[in-house]
């Protein structure tokens, strides 16, 4: 579904990620793990249209979307939830969700699904997004992305700033989405959480893919275990 080939991207002329290639097939949940500064965010921004790649190709659903701006990418079915979430703070949960469906009218069934997944959003429906807790905001960000009925959901470090129990709940929700057949790509620092929900993964180190494999393979790889799972 998503093919990323040889993508390099960065800021002010110097690349943070170099020649990165990976792919996500329909129905899969793929993770990209790596420590802080590995380049996960830069990579995702380049793939999702927030940053023009300096080289490489990005293909989504068979079409070349390299360098296409984010507002066009989301209309093709790729919804991105960045680490900073970028919610609309002075709008209510309802308004944020409704905007998720832009330019379409919000589909009532989709809304229902989202509220079922995140009942807290229903409770806080008319509350301003800026006044909610971190966990609730994360739910809203994901919910808003889901309102566009995406084919692929891309999340950048969804557990940023969340307490452990809230982070686990977030991944429980992702697990449910996965069961419903949604294709998911997630970048994560908290590797155990991501491993539990993914089919495959890539390890990003210093801007390049170091390891790749199924989650089982990665989980048992000694390098992954020592670097990211705290196992000596």
């Amino acid at each position: 579904m998503l093919e990323v080939e040889g993508v390099s991207a960065g800021y002010r002329g110097s690349d943070v990620v170099r020649d990165v290639s990976f792919h996500v097939d329909e129905g899969e949940t793929v993770m990209i793990i790596g420590s802080n500064g590995a380049g996960k965010t830069t990579l995702f921004r380049a793939v999702c249209g927030l940053l023009p790649p300096s080289s490489g190709e990005v293909r989504f659903l068979g079409e070349d979307i390299t360098g296409l701006p984010a507002q066009k990418v989301v209309r093709r079915g790729l919804a991105f939830v960045p680490a900073e979430r970028h919610l609309f703070p002075q709008m209510t949960v309802e308004e944020n969700l409704m905007l998720g469906a832009y330019p379409e009218k919000p589909d009532p069934d989709t809304l229902e699904t989202v509220l079922e997944l995140f009942p807290r959003l229903g409770e806080r429906f008319r509350q301003l997004a800026g006044t909610m807790s971190g966990g609730e905001q994360q739910m809203l960000a994901v919910g808003r992305a889901l309102m566009s009925q995406p084919r692929l959901l891309v999340l950048d470090e969804p557990t940023t700033g969340l307490a452990p129990i809230v982070a686990r709940n977030a991944y429980a929700a992702l697990e449910r989405l996965r069961e419903q057949g949604l294709t998911i790509l997630v970048a994560e620092q908290q590797v155990p959480l991501a491993l539990a929900v993914s089919d495959r993964g890539y390890v990003l180190e210093n801007g390049a893919i170091g390891l790749a494999g199924t989650s089982a393979e990665l989980a048992s790889d000694p390098r992954v275990r020592s670097a990211y799972l705290g196992v000596v």
Partner: protein, 285 residues
Amino acid sequence: MTASILDGIVLGLQFGVLAAGLTLVYGLGGVLNLAYGQIAVVSGLVTLLTMEAGVPAVPAALIGLVAGGALGLIFDLTILQPVYRRHGEARVLLSLLLTLGAAFVIDGYLNWRYPLRGLNLRITGDPLVVFGVRMRMGSVVASGITIVVIGVLYWLFRYTRLGRAIRSVIQDEEGSRLVGIDPQLMMRLILVLSGVLAAIVAITRSMVAPVNVRAGFSLTVLGLIVTVVGGLGSIPGAFLAGLVLGIINSVASSYIGTFLSLIILLVAAAITIVIRPTGLLGVRE
């Protein structure tokens, strides 16, 4: 006293529409349009010329509105393009300088080609009695139109998808892109809207007092001051500040001279800015 307050409200509503156009453009794009007053004046002039060509007042006014919107669009497509390529303070400064240049261009041409012309829409009708005060029909109609405009703006931004989309760009531009909104398209629409608002200012103001071709800069400066007092980027702030300043000006004029009351208005604005730089209802930073 009631008479001055009502006059102040009439004036204040005009200040509000004037400021609304400026504040919208700043709130969305971080751009200050110093040629705003000129857009108003051109729209007024277009209305005048159309009426002189035999077209009745209402369609002529509508043509004036179109002229205002068109001019806003032209600004977006031409001199604002390089401005958008900068960010933050550099963007504001460049927008100030380039729109100032545009203001000179328009002002110079208008004053050369149509010196001393002015739009003056005389509304016929006996004075209406409002709260025990006799108000000229022109003031009443002008205020009525302005109130309708406020209602339309409120409905637009609160209840339409487009309005929500525009608000979202103001609140979080990257977020808006993530949901499929094109900030540049929204900016273009806002510039057209601000042009239309400028035209409305000219047309409604001319019902109360003539708007001549030399009024451009004073309108812009006035609008700028009201905008800043109300809070850059806040439409409700623009109207609130407009009303407050309008009433202050009007009440002061009836007790003291025009110049002194203008100074009081200016000083009141300055004090507000100094005490509360974000403005009465400021949104941005």
